[in-house]
Amino acid sequence: MNSSRPRAVVVDGVRTPFVRSFGAFLDLDAIELGKLAVAALLDQTGLDRTLVDAVVWGGVVLPAGAPNVGREIALDLKLPPSAEAYTVTRACASGLQAVTNAVAAVERGEADVIIAGGADSTSNAAITLPPTFVRKVGPVAMSGKSSVQDYFRLLFELDPVRDLIPSKPAIAERSTGELMGESCERMAERNAISREAQDAFAAASHHKAAAAIASGRFDREVAAVTVGRGTRIYRDELVRPDTSVEKLAKLRPAFRRGGTLTAGNSSALTDGAAAVLIMREDVARALGFTPKAAFRSWAYVGVDPADQLLMGPAIAMPKALERAGMQLGDASLVDIHEAFAAQVLSVLKMLGSKAFAEQRLGRSAAVGEVDPGRLNVHGGSVSLGHPFGATGARMVTTMANELALGKAETAVLGICAAGGLGAAAVMEAV
């Protein structure tokens, strides 16, 4: 990197506990969840909030009335009005996108202090009435000249089935109509990922997450929050320390008869938020902060969603590593978002395949095998949960802490996302 260019660093990161959707965070939409995470970040770092130049936020299920979640968070938390804000949406990679946008802005000299992160509340997904309803009711309701008769006529015009039954929200690809789990079922089949391998991966994810919680490792990045009438939520609620391959083996396939994906080896619908403080390195040091990590590179890619929807990281990770001048083997840690155990295992298989490298990446050697001891060391989305927009910021936070704890030199992140998108980033210790 050009030495005259300022470097952006991760100063700290904090997230709310992750809870199952329609649970403890039912009353909190993405804005409220985001406020909890950002407030906790400000609290934990003691940052002078007048120094914040911008908020960059990621989200997938955006509140229809206020889609610029970042700005709402900044205003509600009384950050200075000059702290500008925007919101990015790139499916499950939204959180990472927010962070890398912040890093790029700082490194280009556009800002010194940015809060980046993401939040999602599937519990608050808007249920929309059919467009035919809007088109029929709209003109009458919006017109000042509508008479009582107009409204009565409208009542007869509305078809109770076609116009009034709301569409059911689902994580389905718009272009293919396929549920993400169905796409992943096909990936499991095509890459020969067995049910046993998926269950073993899922059990390990839960055990690693449980160990991180029990050891207090997550205390530095998960902030307890108060909801409703003073109910305190301290920790992630989806992690099952006592699960086992045997227990997971009893679950029924969730997406296809005879399939291999179950609720146990897939990530659950989750509510939560995560926030990361990005600063120019010299500004951070001048303010007395000890930076935790920096970014060497990142890459975003797209593949055909009708083919292998969630294979993106297998293309993005080698690309980001190449930009960082590294091999996969050089990375001390590997953190891959676990949408489904089958998807991570498919990606790992691709990374380890010489044929894949030759025919898909135009390389002569495989990207590399990932040592299980370096992969998702404190669990992942299967065990912790996956609030879409927050996951990227959660992964950045966890890896930044690993790097700051001196446990690793570099970490490579990989995220798959709806629409056939893939994201990757390489982080380094500072």
Binding site: D307, K354, A355, F356, Q359
Partner: protein
């Protein structure tokens, strides 16, 4: 232009009734021609069975990744290690090994046999034993493709005979499976041209080759392989000239070419300015008003091409018929037919070829009549046979420039010209073919489009019959 029997056959009640009554009516299968631009994975969800006699496997290294990339998870009789397992891993398309003679469940969409090692009469039995037990399970619109070697490349009598016999195999098989709209063809691959197999096979296995059956596609061009062969929008950035584009086959060709990304220079004579403008507008191309026989035609074309940044492909489609028996033929009929159908092809190629950009293509329309002859068409068939001579002579000459030259010989195609033929002759023309029906202009357009793409680089100096397996001149 509709075909009554194809319509009737598509009506389940009618076709059932005709079968029950035992009426001696052929029930041609309505062909599946595909929709929209070339898809990325045309073989996704298709049952493809691949085989080779053991120790004859020469093209599996090309076949395996080609089929996997096209979306097939194939059933393979023969060794499934090496290239197959690598392709399965790279594309996530697991391969299912198949015992000799065994069939996968359900219908088979394509049978592909690698006969490149066929060297003896005994080797042909392996082909027979691969196809025979499975042919009954071939689906409607199914495909049989044999892959062989060039008979000219051997001095062994047995090998030469074995190689040539593949064409006989598909000629008859095409007639036996034509009733279900299925086709059978051979690809012969010259040594060193193996890489050209993938795009050719992909096209033959796709619905775009619906009216090509009982044919040989010989990959033996001398041009250099292109650096990249796009599988979708293969004509992106290409400028293609189509003569006679105002209607019929020319119009369909302009549409198909533009669908795959080409900018089409639509040329026709000034008298057809109106329909030509409509075609050019519809395909987003450039109308070029010129008479192909005029001395300034080439200059007009080059000026139009210049405005688009250059020229990549020439499609010589303009043609006329002026029928009379030779005894009654006058000079005007002779000259007009020869000038448009042959002289213009020669002169325009000579003038335009030096200006073609890298990877140029010249495609000329001949005719099955030019191969078989026709009553009252001495002038026409002379010109169309001349086109074949042009293709065969021009190909080696232009190879140095990286240009391929190929011909297309349409059989009976439903156009304005054929609609004017008397009923009895017309019916004979339609039914005397493996597919028992006439082709549509789009069938020729699809063949032209394939020959215009970078992936057709293995073919040069050949004349592809797009005739539904017509019995004439076969």
């Amino acid at each position: 232009m509709s075909d009554f029997l194809v319509e009737l056959g598509a009506n389940p009640t009618a076709s059932n009734l005709i079968k029950r009554l035992g009426l001696p009516l052929p029930m041609p299968q309505r062909l599946d021609r595909g929709k929209g631009p070339w898809p990325e994975r045309p073989l996704e969800g298709r049952t493809v069975v691949v085989g080779a006699a053991v120790d004859q496997v020469q093209c599996f290294d090309v076949l395996a990744p080609a089929l996997a990339e096209a979306g097939a998870a194939p059933f393979v009789q023969g060794p499934t290690g090496g290239a197959w397992s690598a392709a399965a891993e790279a594309w996530g398309r697991p391969v299912t090994p198949l015992e000799p003679g065994a069939c996968p469940e359900g219908r088979i969409d394509a049978l592909v046999f690698d006969a490149t090692g066929a060297a003896t009469v005994d080797d042909l039995r392996a082909l027979f034993h691969f196809v025979q037990p499975r042919i009954g399970q071939l689906a409607k619109h199914g495909r049989v493709v044999l892959i062989g070697r060039d008979p000219a490349e051997t001095t062994s009598l047995a090998t030469g005979a074995a190689r040539r016999s593949l064409l006989g195999f598909v000629k008859s098989l095409a007639k036996e499976i034509g009733g279900k709209g299925a086709t059978a063809n051979v690809i012969t691959v010259a040594k060193g041209r193996e890489a050209a197999l993938a795009p050719t096979l992909r096209w033959l296995l796709s619905p775009r080759s619906a009216f090509v059956t009982g044919q040989e596609l010989a990959l033996r061009s001398k041009v250099k392989a292109p650096t990249t062969v796009p599988t979708t929008r293969p004509l992106e950035g290409k400028v293609v000239l189509v003569t006679g584009a105002a209607r019929g086959i020319g119009e369909a060709t302009a549409q198909a070419l533009s669908r795959e990304g080409a900018h089409v220079l639509c040329l026709d004579r000034p008298a057809d300015a109106e329909p030509l403008a409509a075609v050019a507008r519809a395909v987003g191309g450039t109308p070029v008003l010129a008479d192909v026989t005029a001395p300034d035609a080439a200059a007009t074309i080059l000026a139009a091409a210049e405005a688009q940044g250059g020229l990549d492909v020439i499609v010589h489609n303009a043609g006329v018929t002026r029928d009379k028996t030779l005894a009654k033929m006058d000079d005007a009929r002779w000259d007009l037919t020869l000038d448009i159908n042959l002289r213009a092809v020669l002169e325009l190629t000579e003038a335009l070829a030096p200006h073609l950009r890298e990877g140029g293509r010249v495609i000329a329309l001949s005719s099955v009549a030019g191969i078989a002859g026709n009553f009252g068409q001495v002038n026409y068939t002379t010109s169309k046979a001349g086109v074949i001579g042009f293709v065969e002579t021009a190909a080696p000459k232009l190879a140095k420039q990286g240009i391929t030259v190929n011909g297309i010989a349409p059989g009976f195609i439903e156009t304005r010209l054929t609609a004017a033929i008397p009923v009895a002759t017309r019916e004979a023309g339609r039914r005397l073919s493996a597919l028992a029906q006439g082709g549509q202009p789009i069938d020729i357009a699809e063949a032209v489009t394939f020959l215009a793409t970078p992936g057709s680089w293995g073919l040069s100096g050949t004349v592809l019959r797009v005739c539904g397996g017509a019995f004439l001149g076969a």
